[in-house]
């Protein structure tokens, strides 16, 4: 099976002050195949969010090599990295990060605008995605008129707008009750069946159990893979 993601000796250090540096990631090596469902676990401060940001091209590592979908990140400029975030990666956040002034529908449409899709197809797809996550009736609602679970489903629909192969979720159930959390995980499972690769960061063992593979981090190092 072909690899979608490869990390080789990746390290990341945050400079808090001149003397005080935090080594968030130390020599991380990970290979993830297309269509895998991977959970990244670890206590807070273990570096799991940093790892997701590096994988999601929101942050650059100090050293090491990252290859996503056959692109070596070292060769890319910021515009090309934005292009990969747009086309290949879909993000789901703990706090949903929906734009409060836009309706659910417009939130889902947003990535299509940057992807320069034709208007008609983009609208059709946004509608279809919202129906797929069970929000066909609530497209016109603003985020503050939706429940937590509904907001996260809008966020998932938004992550799928440009049909990415890799879904990155940072504590997607962290702000939800257990019932809504299970619904969200069901949707991720469904997305995996469609052939997408799912990487979920969580500290909840219940959630991690849903994944095929668990990577455990502690103090910036992989302790179990």
């Amino acid at each position: 099976m072909s690899e979608i993601l490869k990390l080789k000796n990746v390290s990341k250090t945050y400079r808090l002050t001149k003397q005080n540096n935090v080594e968030a990631l130390k020599n991380i090596n990970i290979n993830i195949n297309k269509g895998e469902f991977v959970a990244i676990m670890g206590p807070s401060g273990s570096g799991k969010s940093s790892l997701l940001h590096v994988i999601g091209l929101l942050d650059k590592p100090e050293s090491g090599e990252i290859v996503i979908d056959d692109h070596n990140i070292a060769d890319l400029n910021s515009k090309e990295m934005a292009r990969i975030r747009l086309k290949t990666i879909g993000f789901v956040f703990q706090t949903f990060n929906l734009l409060p002034r836009l309706s659910a529908f417009k939130n889902v449409l947003l990535p299509a605008i940057y992807g320069r899709q034709p208007r008609g197809t983009a609208k059709e797809r946004a509608k279809q995605l919202l129906e797929q996550v069970g929000l066909g009736e609530r497209m016109k609602h603003k985020p503050n008129e939706l429940s937590g679970g509904e907001k996260q489903r809008v966020a998932i629909a938004r992550a799928l707008t440009n049909n990415p192969t890799l879904i990155l979720a940072d504590e997607p159930t962290g702000n939800l009750d257990s019932h809504s959390g299970k619904e969200i995980m069901k949707i991720f499972k469904q997305l995996q069946k469609e052939g997408r690769t799912i990487i979920v960061v969580t500290h909840d063992a219940e959630i991690a159990k849903e994944a095929e593979r668990i990577i455990c981090l502690k103090d910036g190092k992989i302790v179990r893979s």
Partner: protein, 418 residues
């Protein structure tokens, strides 16, 4: 699609904080309003002065006291300050020696307040001249007669009133609605007190629509008396203007040069006067207006800078408030350029909407000024385009700093911002 969506985002942001947006736009609104309205007034006055000067006739050459530097357009104020070295003999010499001059008339303003029916009438222009004045100015009569050469020589106390002056005199003494014609008829044969003596009103001129404006009085407000009479009463011999009618319009430049030579010789070779054709007068006005325009534009520039700083300030606040949004947009694939353009569009939208409101206010204001203050205004496409261009430029120039601040934000730090 991205461009249209950016404009939609900008309007969403604008309408989400209406009061804040309006206050921010106020600087640009005031700036654009003042540019447009002042340009409208300037163009209106310029056109009116132009028409008035043209109406006097292109074959009229005026000698005025003081040296005016026409070439550089500098308007020497001493020329209009009442010190005059011109005399009647200059007028006589011109008529004698310059055969291109058909006729001429010396003019002198009188510092006197006319009285009618024991009421003082203010804001009129009493002046003395010779009968040829009427032939040069060609202002038709509404009633009565011009004063004649014979009356002039006999020093008869007669006056001819401008149409506006007649109206002011009647309004001051009586109530009631009367046509200009009725007023003129009524005044013929009545007495007017001027320089302490009684004058008989023998003629009233028709009101000219396009009359030269002197603040609260215009050329319709003249009270014309024979020069011989005024000289006898006041003992003054100075002349403030010499109007010369040239035989043909083509010879105006030649006549101008000849008149200058003759007057200069008569002034012991000192050129302490100016000879102006209508074109020169237009040039002097135009140069005066161009100075006015520059002053107006610099004031407007200042108010637009203030408006621009207001926009920059509110955009910086907006960028900080929406840090999380910027982070999210970057995470889902927006490039730095996308973010830059988005915030530039927003800043430009603020200034363009402000500019449009300013232009609309100027159109309304122009109509009101024309109606109530009776100052001519022309709101032209030129001023629209200038005002619109200025507001776009303001938005972009003052939007660059906040927009590039937004574009440079690190996605992770932006997403974590609370």
């Amino acid at each position: 699609m991205l461009f249209i969506e950016n404009i939609k985002f900008a309007f969403t942001a604008l309408f989400n904080s209406k009061v804040r947006s309006l206050l921010t736009m106020l600087g640009v609104i005031i700036g654009v309003f003042s540019v447009s309205i002042l340009m409208a007034i300037g163009d209106g006055l310029k056109k009116e002065f132009g028409q008035q000067i043209q109406e006097l006739g292109s074959n009229i050459v005026v000698v005025t006291p003081g040296k005016i530097d026409i070439e550089s357009g500098n308007f020497n104020p001493s020329a209009s300050f009442g010190v005059s070295t011109l005399t009647e003999s200059d007028a006589e010499k011109i008529l004698e020696e310059v055969d291109l001059v058909e006729k001429n008339a010396p003019m002198t303003l009188l510092s006197a307040t006319p009285k009618y029916d024991d009421h003082e009438i203010l804001n009129l222009l009493p002046m003395s001249t010779s009968p040829t004045y009427f032939e040069i100015v060609e202002n038709e009569l509404a009633a009565g007669e011009y004063f004649t050469q014979q009356e002039f020589e006999e020093k008869q106390r007669v006056v001819v009133l401008g149409g506006g002056a007649a109206k002011k005199i009647i309004q001051n003494s009586e109530e009631g609605e009367q046509t200009d014609q009725e007023i003129a008829q009524e005044l013929i044969g009545k007495k007017l007190t001027l320089l302490g003596e009684d004058f008989l009103i023998t003629g009233v001129l028709k009101i000219r629509e396009e009359a030269l404006n002197f603040g609260s009085s215009d050329a319709n407000d003249v009270i014309v008396t024979p020069r011989s009479v005024a000289k006898e009463i006041t003992g003054e011999d100075v002349v403030y203007r010499i109007l010369n009618k040239i035989k043909s319009a083509e010879e105006v430049e030649n006549a101008k040069n000849r008149i200058r030579e003759v007057v200069k010789a008569n002034h012991k070779d000192v050129e302490d006067f100016s000879v102006l054709t209508q074109e020169d007068v237009l040039n002097v006005f135009n140069s005066f207006f161009s100075i006015l325009t520059q002053a107006v534009l610099s004031i407007a520039a200042i108010s637009l800078i203030v408006g621009g700083i207001g926009i920059m300030n509110i955009m910086l606040v907006s960028v900080t408030e929406r840090t999380k949004e910027i982070g999210l947009r970057k995470a889902i694939g927006a490039t730095n350029g996308n973010i830059l353009v988005q915030f530039l569009t927003e800043a430009s939208t603020l200034s363009i909407v402000g500019g449009i409101i300013g232009i609309l206010c100027a159109i309304g204001g122009g109509i009101l000024i024309q109606k109530f203050a009776n100052i001519p205004t022309i709101v032209s496409w030129k001023s629209f385009i200038i005002a619109f261009g200025i507001s776009v430029a303001t938005g972009i120039i003052f939007g660059i700093m906040p927009a590039s601040k937004a574009a440079r934000k690190h996605p992770i730090e932006a997403l974590r911002y609370e």
